[in-house]
Every structure is written in C-alpha cells, then in structure tokens.
Symmetry: C2
Subunit: 232 residues, 2 copies
C-alpha cells in the first residue's frame, strides 16, 4: 500500500451522514400526506443534474443551499404539495443542515483526527457543513467545500484544491467516499482513495452495490474500519 | 447593546495566539546569534506592507505563507544571517503555523462555542490556520480565511463574506479582534465588533494602548471576559 496520507478529505452526504433517513424523517414529521422516503429520494435525485448544469455553465455558480431550494420547489409540485409558505420551505430546505451521522462516523473521525488532518470535501456549502458538524459533533480540522474552490466535484479543481490548501502533493491526500465516481475523479488527480461501504445510503428498499474496486487504496466497511486499516 | 450575534469571527494573530513570544522562542532556539524578540518584530513589521501590495494589485494574490517567506528572506539579510539553507528557511517560515494561544483563548472559545458559531477570519491561509488550531486545540466550528475570499482584511469582501457564508445579515456577525483598524473595517460593513485587549502583543518592552473605543459593541480584557459579557 502507498505511504499513509497526511490529510484525509471526506465526502459527506451518504459517506459521513445518512441523508435518506434524516430527510425522510423531517418530511414525515411535517405531516404533508406524502411518504418521506420517496420524497427524500426525489429531492436527492435532482442533485446531480442541477450541479451538472452549473458545471456546464448553464447555471451561474450557486451554492448547494440554493440548488436544493430549486429542486425542492419542483419536487413539491411533483408530489402535489401546495400548502407550504416561503418560510416553511426555507426551514425544510435547511433539513440538509441537520443530517444525522452514521453510527460509526463520529468515533471513526475522532480516531483518524489523532493521526491525520481530517477535512470535508463536499459539494455542500460552508454554512451547511458547519451547521451539520456542530449539531452532529463531527470533529473536522477544517471545513472545505465546493464553495471554496467555486467548482463542484468531480471537477479536478476540488481535489487538487485540497492538496494546494495544505501545500502537499496529491498523493499525500486521501479522499474517502461512498461513491466510485467521486473516487474516480480524485484518483485521476493523483489522490489516494478510500471507498466506504454505505449499503443503505438510498434506504432499506434500495440496497447499493458496494463491491470492492481494486483501484482504490482502501476499501472499508465504515469509518472506524478505515481508522483501523490506517493504524489510527 | 445590540442583540447577540449568531456567529463570532476571530482575528487570530495577536488576538487568539501570541505571535511575539512564539516566533521569538523559535528564533532563539535556532541559535543564530540574533535576539528572537527583535527578529520577531521585524518579521511581523513586514506583514502589513506586504499585504498592502497585494491589496493594491502590485503583487498577484498570494497566500500569507508565501508573503511570510518573502519577508523572511529580507529580514534574514537585514540581520546578517546567511547560513540557512532552503529547507531550514521553510521550516522556520512554518513557525507561524505553531503559534501558542494566549492562556485564556482555548477556555474562552470553548465557552463561546456552546452558544455561538465560532470561526476564524484571518489573513492567515487555510493550511496555516488548520495546523495552528490542531496543535493548539482551538475549537473552531469553521476555518475562514482571506484565502477563501481572495481578499485580505480590511477589504469589505472578507467581513461581508462571513455574513454571506452563513446566510446572515452583517449585524448578526461579530468580529473579535485586538486591532482597532480591523474592527473599523468590520463596523463599516455593519458587523458588531468586540475589542480584545492584548497589551503584550508586541512583547513586554512595547506595551500597547488598549484604550476603550465606544464605537465597539464590546470591550473585553480577554476571550473569557468576552464569553462572560455575552452570557456564554
């Protein structure tokens, strides 16, 4: 295996926090008469295409909070929900600031933090990631975001941006993520990569393929397992 | 007094950490035959003019690590020190990543963190601030820097940038700093301001005027005092 990295940058949605259960529970709690799970999936399904429009230049740079709101307005219409005023929509949109961590995340990050610099590298904006970390107790050394680099992953500016912030070679940085496309982007830039299995990212009815890809530096069942593998 | 802020952004050099003693001790430990205190003062004296050159566009945007290195090379020559190789200069330049906190800083920030989002707003770069926080135990919720906004304080883009990151009005953000010019810049942008007395910022032989300026929202002897005044 390669020499241990100095910095481990984490994808956040799905990798560190369980967006599906958290968003579904918030929607269910509103009593809108729609099932939270499918609503969460529909909201999240709008995420990649919206960022793709920013990456292609069809939309100006905007933060994920604003993209989430654009998608929310459409999904509310699709589900036939018309009764929310603007304040209620803003509060619901901030549900993405209140996502719960997976059970291993805080303990695993605490272990890794003893040996490595740990940071986020998320398409979420800085305010979102800061609120989330404070509420969930995620012990980041530094919050990095697409907002800092004004590029969304998988643009290389994001992965190389982390190495540049810490004045390191790309191979001295590891990206940890539950999504192969994100790891592919990081690997193409020379970063080490750690795949984190999150078979229930899309809920209990849509188990995810978590097969090992030998191109990754590490393959871990969760963040505590990654800490063990890296000797933390 | 105004309603309490939601976010408190801290100036760092001099306000949270004691650069004078830390740099002086590192220089003394090198045994270069020059007194650490005057060397530290000379190095720091180059800081404002160097940033001013970036702000005026005479130098391209560069991070504080790089400005510190430009100044270091000049100060080494002024002090007649020729024996350091490039690696040794790079290690010495990173002394700014290893500054010690004032005795009240960690406890005061821990108290404030219970009630407010606390972040840096420093001209130091992200890697420098992250290394410093990890070593000193500074419990930031988020590390913000001139590097994020590509502007040095007191450019308004920095103060307004903090409000924008957290989707707040300027008056919902407080800048805490030991320097009136920094607070003047923040106040002009509509932020609340807290002056932190640091009479020994420039060492024991150059006590600083820490007179109260009534235009500031708060005047505190240290960060624990600020926490008390804000009810944290």
């Amino acid at each position: 295996m390669a020499a241990n990295p100095q910095v481990i940058a984490f994808d956040v949605f799905g990798t560190v926090v369980d967006w599906y259960s958290s968003i579904a529970a918030e929607v269910d709690a509103l009593g809108l008469g729609v099932p939270g799970g499918p609503f969460a999936l529909a909201w999240r399904a709008g995420y990649a295409p919206a960022m793709e429009r920013v990456r292609r230049g069809e939309l100006p740079w905007m933060r994920l909070d604003d993209l989430h709101r654009l998608i929310l307005d459409r999904v509310l219409a699709e589900f036939g929900i018309g009764g929310l005023d603007d304040d209620a929509k803003s509060r619901l949109n901030k549900a993405w600031h209140r996502l719960d961590p997976w059970p291993d995340s805080v303990a695993g990050l605490q272990r890794l933090k003893q040996c490595f610099v740990i940071c986020t590298l998320s398409n979420g904006n800085l305010g979102l990631l800061t609120d989330m970390a404070k509420r969930a107790g995620l012990p980041w050394d530094c919050v990095l975001s697409a907002e800092v680099f004004q590029h969304y992953k998988p643009d290389p500016e994001t992965y190389l941006g982390v190495a540049r912030v810490f004045d390191l070679e790309p191979a001295q940085v590891m990206l940890a993520a539950a999504h192969q496309a994100d790891l592919d982007g990081a690997r193409a830039c020379g970063l080490q990569t750690a795949y984190i299995e999150r078979p229930l990212e899309f809920g209990p009815d849509r188990p995810k393929d978590v097969a090992r890809d030998p191109r990754n530096t590490c393959h871990a069942v969760d963040i505590e397992d990654l800490a063990r593998q890296l000797g933390a």
